[in-house]
Amino acid sequence: MTLLTREQMAQRIARELEDGFYVNLGIGIPTLVANYIPENISIVLQSENGLLGIGPFPIDGQEDADLINAGKQTITTIPEASFFSNADSFAMIRGGHIDLTVLGALEVDQEGNLANWMIPGKMVKGMGGAMDLVAGTKRVIVCMQHKNKAGESKILKKCSLPLTGVKCVNKIVTDMAVLEFTKEGLKLLEKAPGITVEEIKNSTEADLIIEGEIPDMIF
């Protein structure tokens, strides 16, 4: 069973981008999505600390302490960029103007609930902007390993950790599969090449809708 690499997951998520989308990418694997934007489409990346129009990372020596993304990484801007305050940035997010956000997760459940910020008993670092992003963005894609380090499913019948948002996830892209929340429930859409539907079922606690032939992911 060959799981997808982080890069492959990012590459698969990039196929969810549509021309003209305004997108907020979370820290970690989601940030890598920017490396795989299809050449024929144009998207604009938002950074919740107050920038629309993130460019590539700077060339060494040209980094600017006044120009960072929400992960505190040095960045650059694209020509159509604009700067604004955090209040204006979250007005944009909360107001439903961002087309898509991609976030990591600790757990997702079959109701579309998301837990990605807090493990009781461990030091709480804070939710940052995650709760606002899942409450406000038009489309939420979760990107994570299918199972945790102990080999247990991260896609559950019911989240056990404190939630980040309720019924907020639209799609899950893992190292094993692509799943979508539909009116009927959580539906298996695609599998990673070389992974069987049986392996996905065995790795998933949540109830899955599996209809017909499940195609391999295309990157």
């Binding site: 107050g50 920038l51 980094e63 960072i68 940035s89 406000g136």
Partner: protein, 231 residues
């Protein structure tokens, strides 16, 4: 109106033990470095600090934590600071975590005379615990209340003598809202110019919000995550 104060220490002279402060910045970007140094030098204690982050161990608000000057932090993310972690676990420091957008909006509300607002952020999570909720137009919202401070300490890029401010790139972040929500707002800037130099269309913080202005010195502007691309 000339609002220039000679030194950072003089500008904070009436901040006292137990006060609530807002401190601008996101991570170490756009923080009032000089005013934080002055707070440390003056040794004011039992502060409640409203700031998106808590600095790092040896810079920003971390400097105040080191000297145990802070009683409580109101922030959205404090993960860059392990001194912070130890102090919370030992009970020396209290923390109120607020979703970032709610934090920004509560500060804006404090400055804008809004008594409270309904937000969808955090519905169904522990953030909603103990808070009023309301269904409006078929959607559930949480009532959040405004934040105000005795003093707001902010960092601008260029200021004019009347207190008009512009910011630079993402160093703008929380500074403009905090400017409006402090009973007294003290701004430090990299450059002070005469009135008439800043374009009235481009002023982000009108001078009405700034009571005192200092020219900051020796900016370190530390970078937390230097990230570069391969050429």
């Amino acid at each position: 109106m000339n609002k220039i104060i000679k030194s950072a220490l003089e500008s904070i002279k009436d901040i006292k033990d137990g006060d609530t402060l807002m401190l601008g910045g996101f991570g170490l970007c756009g923080i009032p470095e000089n005013l934080i140094f002055a707070l440390r030098e003056k040794g004011i204690k039992n502060l409640t600090c409203i700031s998106n982050n808590a600095g790092v161990n040896d810079f920003g608000i971390g400097l105040l934590l080191q000297q145990k000057q802070v009683k409580k932090m109101i922030s959205s993310y404090v993960g860059e600071n392990d001194l912070f972690e130890r102090m919370v676990l030992s009970g020396e420091l209290e923390i109120e975590l607020v979703p970032q957008g709610t934090l920004a909006e509560r500060i804006r509300a404090g400055g804008a005379g809004i008594g409270g607002f309904y937000t969808p952020t955090g519905v169904g999570t522990i953030i909603a615990d103990g808070k009023e909720t309301k269904i409006i137009d078929g959607r559930e919202y949480i009532l959040e209340l405004p934040l105000k401070a005795d003093f707001s300490l902010i960092k601008g890029y260029i200021g004019d003598t009347s207190g008009n401010l512009v910011y630079r790139k993402t160093a703008r972040n929380f500074n403009p809202m905090m400017a409006t929500a402090g009973r007294i707002t003290i701004a430090e800037v990299e450059e002070i110019v005469e009135i008439g130099i800043l374009n009235p269309e481009e002023v982000i913080t009108p001078g009405i919000y700034v009571k005192r202005l200092i020219k900051g010195e020796h900016y370190q502007k530390r970078i937390e995550q230097k990230t570069v691309r391969k050429v």
